[in-house]
């Protein structure tokens, strides 16, 4: 490093100390996104199952898992295995555990104790957390959720089926801590079980798996289980990167204002022989130093937040999460990203400041602002490139589609941002008829367009995300599927270990019209689907839907009691299924047609949670859940739509049985609305932060003009109005430009969607965007200005 450069860097570093407010602003603008990236990736790596954990969750220590179903299947599978292979049987089924007055549904797992121990083939599948694994015939271990629900502890007894068992320990599925799990050492007499074989010590697992498949056995290979594509990390880096992009515009504006105030000082440095390049390097170096501090601070905050949250993670996501550790690569990448963004943000203002002729710099006069036409042209080119990138990405359908879409979105935002100085200039020329406060605001924005352009860009970058989300959701909401409600509004659906018990209590207390389990029918453990011709004219197209076995309670719950006659005649009852289909086929999972029934349509409210088709109980078909399926939800139909008070009462009842929850249509109305609100809130918050910073910066620069206004008799209200109008105006322009900028990625995403979607302009959300943030910014600036109104003072002597 030359002596001159060292001297210049010393000057710059002293500047950082002289202006701690600006220095901290840059540090925080880098620190916040870096903290988000570091914290996000750390939490993700802790909470996400590693590949090895995914393998253990599915396979234990085994190389193969063979679904053998019953004793015959076990014998046949074993015959195909090498004689030296290690084999452990893993049997599962469903049953109820009970104590006097309480009966809970549970998943039963039967594993020999040795298999769960270290080195056993089932090691890691289930974990005995306290007590011990069951070894005797009448012992079992229970999940904490069942122990709490039954109010029992280790050493006490419960009923499993018809037999009494002693609780030997507490067992959990490490990937699903709230699973109502029962672990037995020996198979209970009265619980139907399906058997899986865990097979280990295989020299050529793939060849053996092939042999088993040839024999029509279902096999899972350890090598095929688990995997991570890094997509989540990419998403976190993209979101953090967008935050840094937004920060970059504010950093650039902060540097521009700071360097404008130091114009004479820079001229002085140049007049004493400092080169423009040297000053630039020193300025960028100081920005880098601030960014490094910001990166370190962000890393510390992100890590600290992740560490503080770590003890609570198991309770939140219901799994045994990993130990706390941070990824050096992620930290280094985040800090590097922050430094690069800060350097890039500082470079342009530094270049502009050091290219000013020394005479002009020393005069302290504001340099003539360059024309904005070239910015418009550059912006239009960027917008065009962004649209092309999005279109190519949307039509490509390959792995680069996401990258192209993201690049196109960023180009669109930058393009509109680059165009903003020209727009500010043009609007300033047409401000003559505006009220004074707004006229000054619009004219000021036009005069300082080079500095306000980045502010507008930062606002539009944030708000365009909310527009994209709103457009996407509006387009998705036009799908017919979205028109269907999740459930009837007079339904309460009870799920979990105590669903049957709680639904019964609810039905009694609320004097319900009906109560029934929402269970698909099945045949010999395999779920049955109903297949029928499509409603459209193409007779070759067929549709499938799940089918329920009718009961009096279910028909009443569906408000389809009048269809009982159809079922009694042996037909199938279709709920609101349009089209020309006259018959329906009941088909197994393998495609085997069990039966063909006459189809009778019945007008009823079709819901996502309810069946589309109901058949009468018949030989070969079993009502209730097939083995291995999730717990059966129960539906309770009330006389009137569920009110918040009723829902609250139901929740209180359900809370008495751990692991049981209540659902209602109330909770699903406009399910996308909540997501949009969160996005909008985040965009609002970032937009407001940008505007507050921009307002503070422009206030500093415009203090002399505020004093002139005061000396000609402007009232404090007008001075406040002026400041508020300036903030509101920049917010308004940013939000207006955010609409086309946000629609570009929305259009790309809609083109990429797996279902045909029509791009829909979300007018309500557009209105919220265009009015909401500017109005909030205006009001906030007005209030802030009331606290610190410029005083007419500061003359020279």
């Amino acid at each position: 490093m030359t002596t001159a450069l060292r001297a210049l860097i010393r000057v710059e570093l002293r500047q950082l100390r002289r202006h701690p407010g600006r220095s901290w602003l840059v540090i925080l603008l880098v620190a916040v996104p870096v903290a988000a990236i570091v914290g996000g990736t750390t939490l993700l790596s802790i909470t996400r199952a590693t590949v090895e954990e995914q393998k253990t969750r599915a396979m234990g220590r085994a190389d193969l898992r063979v679904i053998a179903e019953d004793a015959d299947g076990v014998r046949a599978a074993r015959a195909l295995l090498p004689s030296d292979a290690r084999v452990a049987e893993l049997r599962g089924g469903r049953a109820h555990v009970s104590v006097p007055g309480r009966r809970l549904a549970a998943r039963v797992q039967v594993v020999r104790p040795g298999a769960l121990e270290a080195g056993g083939l089932a090691e890691g599948l289930l974990v005995v957390e306290s007590g011990r694994a069951p070894v005797a015939a009448r012992e079992l271990a229970l999940a904490p959720v069942l122990l709490a629900g039954l109010e029992r502890a280790v050493g006490e007894t419960v009923m499993l089926g018809e037999n009494e068992y002693e609780i030997s320990g507490v067992v959990v599925d490490p990937e699903k801590l709230d699973l109502p799990l029962v672990l037995c050492g020996d198979a209970p007499d009265d619980v139907p079980l399906r058997t899986h074989l865990l097979v280990g010590a295989l020299s050529d697992a793939a060849a053996i798996a092939g042999r088993l498949r040839t024999d029509d056995r279902r096999v899972v290979e350890r090598a095929a289980v688990g995997g991570q594509d890094g997509f989540e990390e990419l998403v976190i880096f993209v979101i953090g990167g967008l935050g840094l992009l937004e920060a970059a515009f504010v950093i650039a504006a902060a540097f521009a204002v700071g360097l404008r105030r130091r114009q004479r000082e820079i001229g002085l440095l140049q007049s004493t022989g400092a080169s423009g390049g040297g000053i630039r390097v020193a300025m960028v170096t100081s920005a880098g130093a601030l960014a490094l501090v910001g990166g370190a601070l962000g890393t510390a905050v992100g890590t600290a937040v992740a560490a503080a949250l770590h003890p609570f993670l198991d309770g939140w996501n219901g799994r045994r999460n990993g130990v706390f550790e941070t990824s050096a690569i992620h930290v280094a990448s985040a800090v590097a990203l922050g430094v690069v963004v800060a350097l890039a943000a500082a470079l342009w203002p530094a270049r502009t400041a050091t290219r000013l002729p020394v005479r002009v710099a020393l005069s302290g006069r504001r340099p003539v602002t360059a024309g904005s036409g070239r910015w418009l042209m550059t912006g239009l080119v960027a917008i065009g490139a962004g649209i092309v990138s999005v279109l190519i990405g949307a039509r490509g359908g390959n792995t680069t589609a996401g990258t192209l879409l993201l690049a196109g979105s960023v180009l669109g935002v930058i393009g509109f941002g680059l165009s903003s100085p020209w727009i500010l200039d043009q609007l300033a020329r047409r401000a003559t008829g505006l009220p004074l406060a707004w006229r000054l605001a619009v004219r000021d924005a036009g005069r300082f367009r080079a500095r306000n352009g980045p502010v507008v860009t930062a606002v539009l970058a944030g708000m365009s995300v909310s527009v994209t989300v709103a457009a996407l959701l509006a387009s998705i909401r036009t799908l017919p599927e979205f028109e269907r409600s999740m459930m009837r509004d007079d339904w309460l659906i009870v799920e979990g270990a105590g669903a049957g018990e709680v639904s019964r209590a609810l039905a009694e207390e609320l004097e319900a019209l009906a109560r029934a389990p929402l269970a698909a029918t099945h045949a010999r453990g395999a779920p049955i689907v109903a297949r029928y011709s499509s409603p459209d004219s193409d007779s070759d197209a067929t549709q499938q839907s799940w089918v329920a076995s009718a009961s009096e309670g279910l028909l009443a719950a569906l408000d389809a009691e009048d269809g009982a006659g159809v079922l009694a005649a042996g037909g199938a009852l279709a709920l609101s299924v349009d089209g020309a289909a006259e018959v329906v086929e009941l088909v197994t999972g393998t495609g085997r047609v069990l039966e063909t029934l006459a189809l009778e349509r019945f007008e009823a409210n079709l819901t996502h949670r309810g069946p589309r088709m109901v058949v009468a109980p018949r030989d070969g078909l079993e009502a209730g859940p097939p083995p291995g399926s999730e717990l059966v939800p129960w539906v309770v139909r009330l006389e009137a739509p569920v009110t918040p008070a009723v829902l609250e009462r139901a929740r209180v009842l359900a809370a008495g049985v751990p692991g049981t929850t209540v659902d209602a249509d109330l909770l699903h109305r406009s399910p996308t609305r909540g997501f949009y609100r969160v996005v909008l809130l985040v965009c609002f918050a970032t937009g407001l932060v940008v505007l507050v910073v921009a307002t503070a910066l422009s206030s500093v620069e415009s203090a002399s003009e505020a004093r002139i206004l005061a000396t000609v008799g402007a009232t404090p209200a007008l001075l406040r109005g002026h400041l508020a109008a300036r903030t509101g105006y920049l917010a308004l322009l940013g939000c207006v430009l955010a609409i086309p900028a946000g629609m570009i990625p929305a259009a790309g995403l809609i083109l990429m969607a797996p279902v045909p979607l029509a791009l829909t302009v979300p007018w309500t959300e557009v209105l919220i965007t265009v009015v909401g943030l500017p109005a909030t910014a205006y009001g906030g600036a007005w209030l802030l200005a009331a606290l610190r109104c410029p005083a007419p003072a500061g003359l020279r002597d």
Binding site: L436, R439, L440, R447, S704, T711, P716, A793, L795, R796
Partner: protein
């Protein structure tokens, strides 16, 4: 608000009166007396020049006269009203209707055209845009700048900017102009032009207080007050300075 341009045989109320005014900055050992005690009056139609070396308190005096600062002791009256008794709103009103300012630089809002700058006090005072602009155009005609009404300050020369500032200072009913080195950044010819304008405005019944270093410009005044270390040390009546208007001062 009263009409301050002299008319008829009304009782003589000084446009500006300083009564034992002092201004001290800081407290205790760090206290610095910037001005005072100072007492003087300025009558209708007078052009008063205030001279003195740097740091003598000239600008402090002007700031107190314009209600931009508050005295530590004493009473400042403008048009017979004690400024200390006025609220912030009334002070704003005073600056809109009575007092006009001209500084050495930073006189005009760069975001407004010359016409809009001149119309600004009227517009702030609630006049309609048309009326404010009509009066502003007349004010610009008086300073011979009506042809540049649509230009922004950045497109005007320094002298033109000062003339626009003077037009703004006297637009509407305002009668007291406080000028802080208005010719400081101008060449001698333009400076003369600005002083001639000020003199003409005072001859027409307005009142002006001018802070200057230049004896040649002070020679345009009816009276010259000399300040040193915050105190009035001398006063010269019209013609007492040994310079002629337009000549070099000493």
């Amino acid at each position: 608000m009263m009409e301050l341009v002299r008319s008829g045989e009304e009782p003589e109320v000084p446009v500006l009166a300083f009564d034992a005014i002092s201004r001290v900055y800081g407290d205790g050992a760090k206290a610095v007396r910037a001005l005072g005690p100072v007492s003087f009056e300025v009558q209708h139609g007078e052009l008063i020049a205030i001279m003195g070396p740097s740091g003598s308190g000239k600008t402090t005096l002007l700031a107190l006269a314009g209600a931009l600062d508050e005295p530590s002791e004493g009473q400042v009256s403008v048009a017979g009203r004690d400024l200390a008794g006025l609220s912030a709103k009334e002070l704003s009103e005073m600056r809109r209707r009575v007092i006009g300012f001209v500084f050495q630089d930073l006189n005009l809002l760069p975001g407004l055209t010359a016409l809009e700058n001149v119309a600004l006090p009227l517009e702030l005072d609630g006049a309609s845009l048309q009326e404010a602009r009509r009066e502003a155009r007349e004010a610009l005609e008086r300073v011979e700048l009506s042809s540049l009404a649509g230009r922004f300050p950045d497109d005007l020369s320094g002298g033109e900017q000062q003339r626009v500032a003077i037009a703004r200072a006297f637009v509407g009913p305002r009668a007291l102009l406080l000028a802080d080195e208005p010719t400081g950044a101008l060449d001698s010819v333009t400076g003369e032009l600005v002083m001639r304008l000020l003199r003409a405005q005072c001859d027409a019944g307005r009142t002006a207080v001018l802070v200057t270093h230049d004896a040649a410009h002070a020679a345009w005044a009816d009276r010259v007050l000399f300040l040193r270390d915050g105190r009035l040390i001398d006063e010269a009546a019209d013609g007492a300075l040994s310079v002629s208007r337009g000549g070099s001062g000493s």
